[in-house]
Symmetry: C2
Subunit: 652 residues, 2 copies
């Protein structure tokens, strides 16, 4: 083996095992095993600029096997990213160090995405590759033409999301997407043969990917494979047979090197085996220089690119410009003018109609429910192989991959992806929704059929606990608009919250308009606001969201006839309301003595507003298959029942 | 085409389209397309007894493409199941009809599992097939030797769970598992070519399945394929090229026949095309008789089997007998005797150790985290191809399939499956956990590393909103035991709740014992109970769960020094506590004026106990990567901070 290659890859290995040892926690096996592949990739192929980590046309490197984070941190440090100092590496897995247990996305650091939950990086990388194809069409090859490399392990490939994402990537023939499969045949429980007998070649070829099998420790084979892939016509898997924990005489090739420090004694032996005479965390100057030279190559590439970029800057600015205000304004006016009963999914389609007429970076889509989610407008142009000049993705029945791919689209270059499915299937998307929130990405989940109001499809399709579950995800706005105007306002907030993903929970059934006057202020931006009061002085507050706001209004009027006066508070977004000023919250929450809430879903998340004394009208069991009005009757979500119970509460 | 076959399959078609039309909602396309395949299967191969739907050795028929529910209802009605009358079919999708929008599991009706969320039935069927292999080993081929047929559509196969489940099925060479793939190349958005280009043959062969491609409307081809599969050595996919909406001149082969009634005019045309001269819902006597004859064949098969079964009844009874009490009792005693600090995941291992020594139907497993979840004991015997005489499954990194397979194991014949993963990855399992709850199956989810207490792995691995999300699922018990004794009690409750699945949320870190006396009463069976009070009269209640109960105890003692007297309530299971008597709840909740809660997770779900005035100590943002004690400090979950804030609350 070439001496330089050996030095370079061993620098990764020892930084990794020393850091894991010092932290007394972490995953040494993968960085040791994949150091050779990573070295050849970064040295000879990957186009990146450590001095400008945000270079638009850089190749993306995604570590889907995120537990091997020290591989990434070592590479970033060695190639000269300012974001990762030697000190950060010494503080691997400690508070305040950027070198967290699993890579956490930070813009401008070389960490392209947050990984750890297995398989997610694969879906992200498909999103990157789609974004690249779209931008290439819009900006030309001179500005955008880069590869996305994703390093995935056996675990990633066992996860279902890998199937979904790779199947779509193959369908779209994403030729700039390369998977480096760390084919080490070891997982946590032991040899993968305990649970897997997949024929990988057949599997990946079935998706329309090319497949190569190489020795992941042979520099020449790695080089040849990566060389070949530069002219790929399809996405490609380079399956790298590696030894996990490479270099460790007692632990290599074994699960014991996967997820714990290998121990000081063993590290000594590795130093002997790999002929590495340096102290922990010491990277000899000559080797560090070689790594820095590799990093510096990108500076030139970037600067040559920048010249072209400057010439095309107007075009780029135009492509990335988001025009929303006109569409939002005109739709608000249409809403008032037309003033008619409308499902919020339909209201969403109407605002999307207006938005897709304008220039912006929205990329729509649905997991095979375009017509039900109302995500596709007549102005959309569906993306497919041979047509990346579009703005709509048919994701197929792949909710999980859709969500992970949307994360990739948002991360790549500020696309604003939105994707539709039924609210019940937010369950299938959950791991990726969480990552949208953790990474602070503006991803918009359009989730229709948001309650028993969907009717006959029954309990398997009727969300109950989904709203409450989604609301408890940190940094996620769950919007449940009550009419067309609120739907427009919630879309507006979803678009304007740059660092918070959104879920739009929308109805299948029609809703009566509750907002009948134009307002310059986006009322939904308070999260909760008063829509009605039956008297100046009130002794009851009725909280409700979405399709139940009208039920609340009717109940309020009915109670007023019995001289029980109330206000109705529409709560389109609990998450936003909880962030309002103390005084605003006080005004909304504590004006009246009695409180009730109405939402055709789990009741627990309303207790924080109504307290232990209030009444929560909702559903804490599973739904029913029947026409929707009968189901509302069945669960006694009716004006009659709610007003009776409320009267009893007040008069008791 | 054979006249009889034509009549039989058309009976299915017309019941299906008439029922959908009458309900004005539903999915006619699939039953019309798959009627031929289903007819040949039920007529010539499927072994079932409509008079005894619970016959242990029946073949299982799973409708993974659950939207085509009318196919199943028609078959069950036609073959003579009492559970589905013609009237039920006429009330398709109406309240109280067993013919719900999607099939809902009811024991003894022929509906083997609840389906609708796509792909789930595939995982269930893998569970059925594994259960069959295990029982065959235990009881002998004379008692158990049956096929499992799963009907899956394009949508099921796009879902990630299909990959996970089929990959494991291939690994285990489940030769009695047969997939009937409704390969109609249509999904909701239109032709599947919008989003999929998979080479199915290669894909399924890569998993180790056999693959046959047939014309799904050609009786002879269907027969030949099903005949061949009777001697399969591997799981097999019979890919049936069909026309969705077969028989409809204007809608067949189109997405428009998938999910809505085809319309009265079109139904007239279908009657013409298929030469069906009968009124809606009318099945001519001769055709019904032929179908009933098919059903009656099973009566004989069952009765022949019953004779052998009677001879072996002792063996069967022994195999299905669950011995738990001895293990539970001795472990409780050990817990008191040893009285030492222990992680609850370790406590769980110890009780499992004791349980696996006894005869019972527990089937353990983990999604590649056996050592971390402590799910595997020294007495376990891992199941693999060639060894079905075991009680432990290495599921691989396939959390979702694991959950769906466990549902299948539980449904098949009262196995008690438990499976491990990290609590954070309950997100990957969610759609199947929900189905465990909806189907009332005793499935036990062992979910370790249940908070920031896992430490360095960081925010991607630290659950925050998971507990609150899981708690809001109806009919699911989420247990978070505080020490070894509570862990044993929670296991006891999980085993004894026959109709409620359980999540055991367990720590990675050690916990001090809080229960030091033997109790004949399972205290966790109250969901919440007092563990300590610092005075007879108190003015503060501290609610806590799991690893935070000790923090609550320390805080309580600290506050007592300042003469603030309190009781500590351990809340191992909110779901169970919420079901207690009014008086018990009152005693626990309303004794003291002030209330606080402590749990290292989302706080919302505690508000129902502490009200709007109480203080909830928890975490409503994402976690951190660091040693765990530092993270507790970082989030100020410390005796010092909690007691200070509480003092302020009380003195304000």
């Amino acid at each position: 083996m070439n001496k330089l290659h050996k030095d370079l890859s061993n620098a990764i290995r020892f930084l990794s095992i020393d850091a894991v040892q010092k932290a007394n926690s972490g995953h040494p096996g993968m960085p040791m095993g994949m150091a050779d592949v990573a070295t050849v990739l970064f040295k000879n192929f990957l186009r990146f600029n450590p001095k400008n980590p945000n270079w638009l046309n850089r190749d993306r490197f995604v570590l889907s096997a995120g537990h091997g984070s020290m591989l990434l941190y070592s590479l970033l440090h060695l190639t000269g990213y300012k974001s990762i100092s030697l000190n950060d590496i010494k503080n691997f897995r400690q508070l305040k160090s950027i070198c967290a247990g699993h890579p956490e996305y930070h813009p401008g650091t070389g960490i392209e995405t947050t990984t750890g939950p297995l398989g997610q990086g694969i879906a992200n990388s498909v999103g990157f590759a789609i974004a690249e194809e779209i931008l290439k069409k819009k900006l030309g090859k001179e500005i955008i033409n880069h590869k996305t490399y994703v390093l995935a392990g056996d675990g990633c490939l066992m996860e279902g999301i890998s199937h979904e994402a790779m199947s779509l990537a193959g369908h779209l023939k994403l030729k700039n997407l390369v998977m480096l499969f760390d084919n080490n045949s070891i997982s946590i429980d032991g040899p993968t043969s305990l649970a897997v007998s997949d024929n990988f070649k057949k599997r990946f070829e079935s998706y329309g990917w090319d497949y190569m099998l190489i020795n992941g420790h042979n520099e020449k084979e790695i080089f040849a494979a990566l060389k070949k892939v530069q002219n790929a016509k399809k996405p490609t898997v380079i399956s790298c047979k590696t030894k996990i924990g490479y270099g460790s005489p007692n632990k290599s090739g074994k699960a014991s090197s996967h997820g714990s420090p290998i121990g000081l004694d063993e590290i000594k032996l590795v130093r002997k085996v790999l002929d590495w005479k340096h102290e922990p965390f010491e990277v000899p100057k000559n080797i560090l220089n070689e790594w820095r030279k590799i990093g510096n190559k990108g500076v030139k590439l970037d600067s040559a690119w920048s010249k072209i970029y400057k010439r095309k800057k107007n075009l780029v600015d135009k492509v990335f410009k988001n025009n929303f205000s006109k569409a939002l304004k005109s739709e608000k006016q249409n809403s008032l003018k037309e003033n008619k009963s409308l499902a919020s999914r339909k209201a969403s389609e109407l605002i999307l109609n207006a938005l897709t007429k304008e220039n912006n970076t929205l990329i729509g889509g649905s997991a095979d429910l375009a017509g039900s989610n109302n995500t596709k407008t007549k102005y959309h142009n569906a993306i497919n192989f041979g047509n990346f000049n579009g703005d709509y993705i048919h994701y197929g029945v792949r909710e999980h991959a859709m969500s992970g791919i949307m994360n990739g689209l948002a991360l790549h270059s500020k696309f604003i992806p939105y994707g539709g499915t039924f609210l019940i299937f937010s369950d299938y998307c959950k791991p990726s929704i969480r990552l949208s929130a953790l990474m602070q990405q503006r991803v918009i989940y359009v989730m229709t059929h948001d309650s028993i109001g969907l009717g006959e499809d029954g309990p398997t399709h009727q969300p109950i606990e989904q709203l409450s579950g989604l609301r408890s995800i940190p940094n996620l706005n769950v919007f449940r608009p009550a009419d067309r105007m609120e739907t427009i306002e919630c879309w507006e907030l979803s678009l304007k919250n740059l660092k918070t993903p959104s879920v739009l929970s929308l109805t299948r059934q029609n809703l009566e308009p509750i907002r009948k006057k134009y307002s310059n202020i986006n009322k939904c931006s308070f999260g909760a606001y008063e829509v009605l009061r039956t008297n100046k002085k009130i002794n009851l507050t009725i909280f409700a969201s979405g399709s139940e706001v009208n039920l609340a209004i009717e109940t309020s009027h009915k109670l007023a006839k019995d001289k029980i006066y109330s206000k109705v508070v529409s709560v389109p977004c609990q998450d936003i309301f909880d962030l309002q000023s103390k005084s605003y919250k006080k005004k909304i929450l504590y004006e009246a003595k009695f409180k009730i809430s109405i939402e055709a879903a789990s009741t627990d998340c309303w207790k924080k507003y109504i307290g232990t004394e209030g009444l929560a009208f909702g559903i804490d069991t599973f739904g029913k298959s029947a026409p929707y009005k009968e189901i509302y009757e069945y669960f006694r979500l009716t004006v009659k029942n709610i007003s009776q119970k409320t009267k009893k509460l007040i008069k008791s």
